[in-house]
């Protein structure tokens, strides 16, 4: 076991958190990510293997499959982002690759992103000031790529009400956090 101490995207050992009004924004470092892209001509094999791994149907455009161990977000034709708890799935890319074999290209993406959870009544009003998604119509399991504060992000509604997960580029985590916190102050 190596002895290097991890550093969160928001430059700390303790996940950053902001509470404003009824809404909480907190960093969620415990997320492992792996991208999956089906190989050419292997789409069916990839879909089948991935469905077996997730235990659910694969999400289509604008959708996420939210499972017990794994989430899958649609990111493009025959492409998904697989999410799992980092603590138990640090080797997520290897796990997925082992299951999918030559049917897919799998790339570790865990540390390419910062994961922020925005939760609480009024969260829609905050999101309205951040991105051009039709936030009020997003249902649990909707996931879309959008731009927040110039940054390409993935927005997932993971709870029926009042909750969004935002995946954004890790190197700009501070700016993203700041933008969301500013919108919270403004809207709440």
């Amino acid at each position: 076991m190596h002895d290097l101490q991890p550093f969160n995207a928001l430059a700390g050992r303790v996940p950053l958190r902001a509470d404003i009004g009824t809404v909480t924004l907190h960093e969620t470092p415990n997320v492992a990510l792996a991208s999956v892209a089906a190989r050419l001509g292997q789409e069916t094999a990839c879909n089948t293997a991935l469905r077996d791994l997730l235990g659910t149907d694969l999400p289509g455009p604008g959708k996420a499959a939210l499972g017990d161990s794994f989430d899958a977000l649609w990111t493009g034709p025959d492409q998904w982002m697989i999410c799992a708890p980092y603590a138990t799935h640090e080797d997520l890319a290897d796990i997925v690759k082992t299951r999918l074999g030559p049917s897919a290209s799998v790339t570790e993406q865990s540390d390419a992103w910062v994961c922020l959870d925005l939760i609480g009544p009024g969260v829609n009003a905050v999101m309205e000031r951040l991105c051009n998604l039709d936030i009020h119509m997003m249902e649990m399991g909707d996931a879309t790529r959008t731009t927040i504060d110039h940054l390409g992000c993935l927005v997932v509604r993971r709870t029926p009400m009042n909750g969004f997960r935002i995946l954004g580029p890790r190197s700009s985590a501070e700016c993203l956090f700041h933008a969301i916190r500013t919108a919270m102050r403004s809207a709440l």
Binding site: H2, F7, A9, S110, S171
Partner: protein
């Protein structure tokens, strides 16, 4: 101060008194007032000075179309110029100042311009300030700008913040008058997602300003009840204080919500305004109409206003500009105004009606067929002169005059995508054309339906049609449905200084002059006279100007046409367009994995695009950056240095055709690169120019990691995706960026291997035999952490790049520093990196500048002719292959003490120094501590054949002229022995 002109009734809250200041004097008003209504209630009619002639002016309107009552609102750094007193919502402590006067509003020295009006006609500036040309910018323009113009800026930073936001709806309703409210009610009750936006702080539109009844209640009461019902519907979003400023493509609208403009200071963290982008599947424009004035001599005195404004002040704000009022009208609205005023106890001096065939019988004096031909009162109206039908004139005493010349539908938003309105003969006005922005319908007065019933019916119908509502609708409440005919009456015969555009001081005479001087097209008329410019964009003036131009040209008004309507509909602050994107927030900052560590270490950072990178790491005793950089270079070349190179783009390339794909995008061969090997690669653009360079490491048969330059990381990824999806869709290859996923550090210098051997887990042999130059491998470090190791070198030394998952980047850097102590490990920044790559002769962004080719860069042999690759064919163009073309060289001054600079040009040792004799230019220059002088990289004509030649490096702009020697671009270790060690 008593509110001597305050009447009874109105929609103001008399239980609360608000104190405010205008030009230093204190007054009282009430919630519900605007600044203009409160001033009128306090018997203040004079609110500003005109643009050019500095004539005293008061409000012409009671709304956003106001040309005259323009003030500077608030003070200090919150001072906002050119704010309309007619829309500024009164709050306690409001401070406003009049503009464009000196020294004060009632006595303005610049009013001398008014006496010079014969000279200051249309086109005056163009005709007068012609000579000498150099004086325009330095003397004339500043002088004119000072004398004319409207408000001035505070020149301080705006302390407030502005937001942007995004809304979606099935139906956007623009305007909450009778048609807008009815449309919202119809759509809201049907359960549709509705946004109802209105620029006013009180919804209801003209219903608040009129005494019309709807059903068995007043229009205002009906509006209030309707708004209350709409507010209770969760699917309806009411947005008062929100102006829809533009109709853009695909049903997207811009709207500015004034969140805090009615407060002295915004609440902490709250924005002053929000710019909403509204995505509407359908929209109904219910923007109402604007009353048009009549032009007559001296029609601009304070107290002269539109009849509709008089009714608004009297009915809604319970404020009258005077106790004795006359009306000048060409429509029935004038009489309605007289009745409303009379009911409030205001004396009607006379109603002058241009029409002679009137059937009305009223208990006030009516002058049928009369016309107002002149007025008096320097700072406010005192008398009007009326010409009777028999030619006699009569003077009538009054403190205010209501003018009514009919109504113009507010078609602006229907025209924001270059549509044109069409002329309606019955209304003698432009109405929306047949082509409208996608999804838009127009209802109510904006569409020429001027009666209250017409507005309600049109609003209901618009909602039903737009949303295909099939539910049966309740009957509309009763409302007046008077037939509307408008007889055009634009100006009084024989007038000359009759103001059309009060904001820009354009008179009837100016329009005639414009016609006389050949500026007859409506767009020329606008620019020559300034008719319709500035904050009100001619909402009350354009039609008058058009009508006169049409008459002079002998054309019908629709033949003359209108000027283009463009967003924004009303003045919009630059601040709200910028939103949060100002200062540091203008673009996001990207931090490297070692940022925190570098900060602790005292690094000096530099912005590289959005990236923040350590430029150098000063240590104690160093007072100049060169000391730090020289030390870092020498220490690296002597022992070992570490540099964060995470910012280089990293692209994961996988698939059975990955090698074939790279063979196509790089000009050099990649098909046969062995697993475990890295290769330097050059990408060309389709046109044969060099695009980017980097490396590709083959981690498996079907897996490469490509690196790009920092600057081109995104561009190269986009390019590769384009190639994959569009040029070679039949290849099995998948791409994804992993730039952010890995922290990558260059470990360079003769002791780099020794340092890494302490970190790389022992099962991985990184000796020169096992891990030679250009090797790559998946390894583990520090006892099992997955990592990648590449033996590549940008510095020219024995060097490696080691990558770990980003979250361990900070820890790895600290570990390298700790374990490297025995080798005197030195972190180095981008400056030292740059010095070392120039010493080594490696190209970077300065050389890959979009104008260079593989040949220019000295890499022509890399362009493989054994295969097809992007840019390969066009790189063979004759023009890119001339023998005297630019070639990469090195330069150094013959006197080592001399300075050389990037950007300087190379000239022959003798001969002229000019562009015609230019031999080439320097792209990169640095002081080389290794060589003890400055060195540079340059592109020189036939440079490959000129090594050893003495030339002059010149920069005439900085008076630089230095003798330099042309050398190979590889100053250090040209044979590459060090990096293979």
């Amino acid at each position: 101060m008593t509110q001597e002109n305050r009447l009874t009734g109105g929609q103001i809250d008399r239980t609360t008194r608000l104190r405010f200041q205008f030009d230093g004097k204190s007054y009282d008003g009430h919630p519900g007032d605007t600044l203009a209504s409160a001033l009128l209630a306090n018997n203040v009619r004079l609110m500003g000075r005109s643009f050019k002639y500095h004539r005293p002016r008061g409000p012409l309107t009671a709304g956003s179309e106001e040309p005259n009552a323009i003030v500077a609102l608030r003070s200090g750094d919150r001072q906002e110029p050119n704010t309309r007193a007619t829309t500024a919502e009164l709050y306690d402590g409001l401070v406003a100042r009049s503009q464009n006067r000196w020294p004060r509003l009632a006595f303005d020295m610049m009013a001398i311009n008014d006496g010079l009006s014969d000279f200051l006609t249309a086109g005056f500036y163009y005709k007068t300030f012609m000579w000498p040309a150099a004086f325009w910018e330095r003397l004339y323009e500043p002088l004119i700008r000072k004398a004319a113009g409207l408000g001035s800026l505070s020149m301080q930073d705006d302390p407030d913040v502005y937001d942007k936001g995004f809304l979606h709806c099935e139906l956007l309703i623009i305007g909450a008058g009778p048609s807008g409210l009815m449309a919202a009610l119809t759509a809201g009750r049907a359960g549709k997602r509705v946004i109802l936006a209105d620029e006013d702080f009180r919804m209801g539109g003209r219903l608040n300003a009129e005494t019309f009844e709807i059903g068995d209640e007043t229009g205002a009461a009906w509006a209030e009840a309707t708004v209350a019902e709409l507010a209770s519907l969760p699917n309806v979003r009411l947005m008062p204080r929100t102006t829809v400023i533009g109709a853009f493509d695909h049903g997207i609208f811009g709207a500015v919500e004034r969140v805090s403009d009615h407060l002295a200071v915004p609440a902490p963290g709250k924005p002053r305004q929000i710019l909403w982008r509204i995505y509407a599947k359908q929209s109904v424009l219910c923007a109402g109409a604007t009353e048009r004035p009549i032009a007559f001599d001296n029609n601009d005195r304070p107290g002269i206003m539109l009849a509709s404004a008089l009714r608004a002040y009297v009915n809604r704000y319970a404020a009258t500009p005077a106790r004795r009022v006359a009306i000048f009208t060409s429509t029935d609205d004038g009489h309605r105004t007289a009745c409303d005023l009379q009911a409030k106890g205001v004396t009607i001096a006379a109603v002058i009606d241009t029409r002679t065939d009137l059937a009305f019988n009223h208990d006030y004096r009516v002058i049928r067929g009369g016309q107002v031909i002149d007025t008096q009162g320097r700072l406010g109206l005192t008398f009007i002169t009326v010409r009777l039908p028999n030619g006699e004139t009569q003077v009538v005493e009054c403190g205010a005059l209501g003018v009514s010349g009919g109504w113009n539908p507010n078609v602006h938003l229907t025209c924001h995508q270059r549509e044109r309105p069409v002329w309606d003969d019955t209304l003698a006005a432009f109405v929306p054309g047949e082509t409208l922005p996608v999804g838009m319908t127009v209802a109510g007065a904006a569409n020429g339906a001027f009666s209250t019933h017409g507005a309600l019916a049109a609003g209901q119908e618009a909602a039903i049609t737009a949303l295909q509502i099939s539910d049966p609708q309740p009957a509309l409440p009763w409302a007046e449905d008077a037939p509307v005919t408008q007889t055009p009456f634009w100006y009084v015969e024989g007038c000359s200084r009759a103001w059309l555009d009060q904001q820009n001081d354009v008179t009837v005479k100016d329009v005639k002059l414009s016609h006389q001087e050949g500026f007859r097209s409506v767009e020329h008329l606008k620019r020559y006279t300034t008719l319709g410019m500035a904050t009100d964009q001619g909402k009350t003036s354009n039609m008058g100007g058009l009508a006169i131009m049409a008459e002079l040209a002998g054309k019908a008004i629709p033949e003359v046409g209108t000027t283009m309507y463009r967003p924004p509909y009303t003045p919009t602050s630059i601040g709200v367009l910028a939103g949060r994107m100002r200062g540091k927030a203008f673009h996001p900052t990207r931090l490297t994995p070692s940022h925190q560590w570098a900060k602790e270490r005292g690094a000096v950072f530099v912005e590289v695009g959005n990236r923040l990178r350590a430029q150098w790491f000063p240590i104690k005793g160093e007072t100049h950056w060169r000391q730090s950089v020289d030390r870092e270079v020498l220490a690296t070349r002597r022992s070992v240095g570490v540099c964060d190179c995470t910012t280089l783009g990293k692209i994961d390339v996988q698939g059975t055709d990955a090698a074939t794909f790279l063979n196509f995008v790089y000009c050099n061969g990649f098909a046969k690169l062995a697993v475990g090997k890295t290769r330097y690669g050059l990408m060309l653009r389709e046109d044969g120019m060099a695009m980017d360079d980097g490396t590709a490491a083959r981690l498996a048969d079907d897996h490469f990691v490509v690196t790009t330059t920092t600057a081109n990381a995104v561009k190269v990824y986009q390019h590769m995706e384009f190639v994959r999806q569009c040029l070679v869709p039949d290849m099995d290859v998948q791409l994804i960026s992993t730039t952010e996923a890995w922290a990558q550090y260059a470990v360079a210098g003769p002791n780099s291997r020794k340092l890494l051997q302490k970190i790389v887990d022992p099962e991985f042999d990184i000796s020169n035999d096992a891990f030679p130059f250009m090797a790559c491998a998946n390894i583990t470090v520090c006892g099992g952490l997955r990592a990648r190791l590449f033996r590549i070198s940008f510095s020219g030394e024995l060097a490696f790049e080691v990558a770990v998952p980003t979250r361990y980047g900070d820890a790895l850097m600290r570990r390298l520093m700790r374990d490297g102590k025995e080798f005197d490990v030195t972190p180095y920044g981008t400056e030292a990196l740059g010095v070392m790559r120039i010493e080594k002769g490696h190209a970077a962004g300065n050389e890959l500048n979009g104008t260079t080719t593989a040949l220019t860069l000295g890499m022509e042999r890399m362009v493989s002719k054994a295969k097809d690759s992007i840019g390969s064919t066009l790189s063979e163009r004759p023009g890119l292959n001339e023998s005297d073309g630019l070639r990469a060289v090195g330069i150094k001054p013959t006197d080592p003490a001399q300075k050389i600079t990037a950007g300087g040009h190379l000239m022959n040792a003798t001969g002229p120094v000019d562009a015609a004799h230019d031999q080439g230019y320097v792209t990169s220059a640095a002081h080389s501590p290794t060589l003890g002088s400055m060195i540079g990289l340059a592109f020189l004509k036939a440079g490959n054949t000129r090594h050893g030649e003495k030339m002059r490096l010149v920069s005439p702009l900085t008076d630089l002229s230095v003798e330099v020697e042309i050398t190979s671009p590889h100053f250090i270790d040209p044979e590459g022995e060090r990096l293979r060690a």
